[in-house]
Symmetry: D2
Subunit: 233 residues, 4 copies
Amino acid sequence: MNFDDLLTEEAKKIIRETLDVKKENVNEAFAAQPKQVSVKTDFLSSANVQNHVELYEDYIEKFNNTSAKLDSVDKSSVNSNHSGFRSIKIDETFNMNGAYLHELYFSNIGDAQSRISMDSLSFMRLNRDFGTFDDWQRDFIACGKASRCGWVVTYLNMYTQSYMNCVIDLHSENVPVGMYPVIVMDLWQHAYYRDYLKDSDAYLSAMMKQLRWSVIEKRFEKADRILNIIRGA
Amino acid sequence: MNFDDLLTEEAKKIIRETLDVKKENVNEAFAAQPKQVSVKTDFLSSANVQNHVELYEDYIEKFNNTSAKLDSVDKSSVNSNHSGFRSIKIDETFNMNGAYLHELYFSNIGDAQSRISMDSLSFMRLNRDFGTFDDWQRDFIACGKASRCGWVVTYLNMYTQSYMNCVIDLHSENVPVGMYPVIVMDLWQHAYYRDYLKDSDAYLSAMMKQLRWSVIEKRFEKADRILNIIRGA
Amino acid sequence: MNFDDLLTEEAKKIIRETLDVKKENVNEAFAAQPKQVSVKTDFLSSANVQNHVELYEDYIEKFNNTSAKLDSVDKSSVNSNHSGFRSIKIDETFNMNGAYLHELYFSNIGDAQSRISMDSLSFMRLNRDFGTFDDWQRDFIACGKASRCGWVVTYLNMYTQSYMNCVIDLHSENVPVGMYPVIVMDLWQHAYYRDYLKDSDAYLSAMMKQLRWSVIEKRFEKADRILNIIRGA
Amino acid sequence: MNFDDLLTEEAKKIIRETLDVKKENVNEAFAAQPKQVSVKTDFLSSANVQNHVELYEDYIEKFNNTSAKLDSVDKSSVNSNHSGFRSIKIDETFNMNGAYLHELYFSNIGDAQSRISMDSLSFMRLNRDFGTFDDWQRDFIACGKASRCGWVVTYLNMYTQSYMNCVIDLHSENVPVGMYPVIVMDLWQHAYYRDYLKDSDAYLSAMMKQLRWSVIEKRFEKADRILNIIRGA
């Protein structure tokens, strides 16, 4: 297998560029920093938001924690019934998803001036792949109601090459393989119980009125470029 | 929000191009076609392979089946404790993952002339993100042994922006959000029990000797280009 | 196989007695009635309790709902990847556990005069099987902290023939086979978020101060008699 | 709370008797011994049976392993996102169920002279709670087909106070709380793949022809006595 024969010129250029992205400490665990979170909305109490941010920070801590342990845990006697490696690896994914989804959630809600333009990419894609924008909304709300302590996510599906919604339970159950998330809503009871008790419908409606479409639009732009790559362009 | 202001020229070009990809029947369910599968290897009996392909075809059938049902199921009275929408939606993801992972698996095994070149992108990336190529191999095997009727996958992690391995149980448990799969190995008992009984280690070793690196290389090329987009290039 | 030879006199007597318990409508679905719930405690707000009872009533409704559907759903073309029977059957267990655990929970908390006597069976059994009563308490609290939207339960384990604690996620994950529950605590976020936000430790401590030991004692009495039967007495 | 006031004479007698069952080493982990397994049937190859028994022995080993670790693991800093206690506790239940279900399975199959008598308790109870014996069989087979790498179990349901079938995935998902198992069938792929490949229906039919009703009858006798206790007799 030969480097020069295998790759297109474009690919080689990209490779040379990305090789410059040096990872200096390859054996050290990935250490994520909690992002600054600022959610201002009349629809959530500050006690709720403050607690939610602290939950997020714990996912970051536990993700770093598991990631560091995996550098030194025994990999020679692993088995599926019980082994430290399995337990830590499973929890790494759980906490990583918890951290990632919360970051995407916090940054795509709380826009009091929320508007989606009909000529935005977001609108066009939701319109195209769900039938109409309203069909997307109905499907997204249905997914939200269906989630059992989890999430609803609109994502680019790299397998079907289209945008779809999914229902995630907890952080890592029922997750599609090959997804790039663009719109993320938290449906754990901790997201709404303080302010809405069991009325998750009211919470979900409120949140959807203040989706931060400027942030979502940038995700759709990246998603569409990813889709082009998947399609082999 | 204005279309022209928001997007770079490149993004607009991509959008115009992809808008040409017409989805004529937006309301019709996605209907996947089973791919032709041909796995020739001394390490698996033909009875085993033949049965495995039939299992894959059932995932395709059930994915189409659930996808079609979701077009007409009631979305107004959905709830998380029990509703047709939830059940079908969860099973859509299960079968979609089952179909997708099997396609990736079948096409990346069974290469009797398997060789990985040290100047391939695959080698360089595994080397960079796991420490050494051997470290990747050890981690991949450990993940394989840890999987409880499921999969081990090397994937581009869009959150950490690096290549990682994950342990999936069944098809949709413990799945990382934001993953692009590049190397896929089936660890369900149906993959090896006929030929290896409970000796999944022997099966895994055999399979890894015949990874189809030419196919994997193309996935890494796409993954690296996706990574560039994620990083904002 | 002969009725008279197989059974002891005692067994025959029991059989004759229980045969009198007529189930008149064998083909009709089991229809559970929600029990009257009255939880009075300074440790939970009435809004919290009221919402919690309504959640419980929904589990009852959904249990009856799934149970009724199972009487008429097609059983000839069932499969594990996707079928109505599977979905409804899984949800029957989920909602049945949700209903049962809530009934056990509501009736074993909120006793402001809570005291456990050292000569009670509860005390003697916890003492015997956990080392000391305090050891039981430490283990129970640890299980409570470990639960991921679920339950901690002290139960008679029919396999080990001893009392143990378990950590249940949601309602039906990580559930021991062959358990008879005696002490039940709800650790879903809906149980405490309104009043304690994410401080589940404070909630758990408060609840344990008001365990209704009179109710628990009766459960231990039954459990011990069951244990005698399991042991072949 | 007073010992003498609380208990019936019968309960006191039982308590006094069972107190004699001394547990000498309360702080030591439960250490299970693998039971001798002998399954002789034309429907399973000896390679299959031999491998199956070895899988069972690993569950016993891992159950003892987790149980021992729980004696010394830190219980003060447990949390639900990631902690050693949680991981080991979850795996204890997984392996305990794996061990228990396999014991029940091995001992209730492989009876070449299998016959169920119409005047047996087994027959009468299945008949009573499922409508007819054939209805039980249809439901049991449907549950078997619905199981996703798991089990189908006929059990006494202590909540509904009747016999039901359930579909368990893996060993500890979708397990009813308060169940006493009476008929147990393994539907993991390891149970049949060697001999039947993906034709689990043929495997299930074969197994059901050789259910060991003499063993099952004794379980029903115990179950019925347990039911009497639950009912407050």
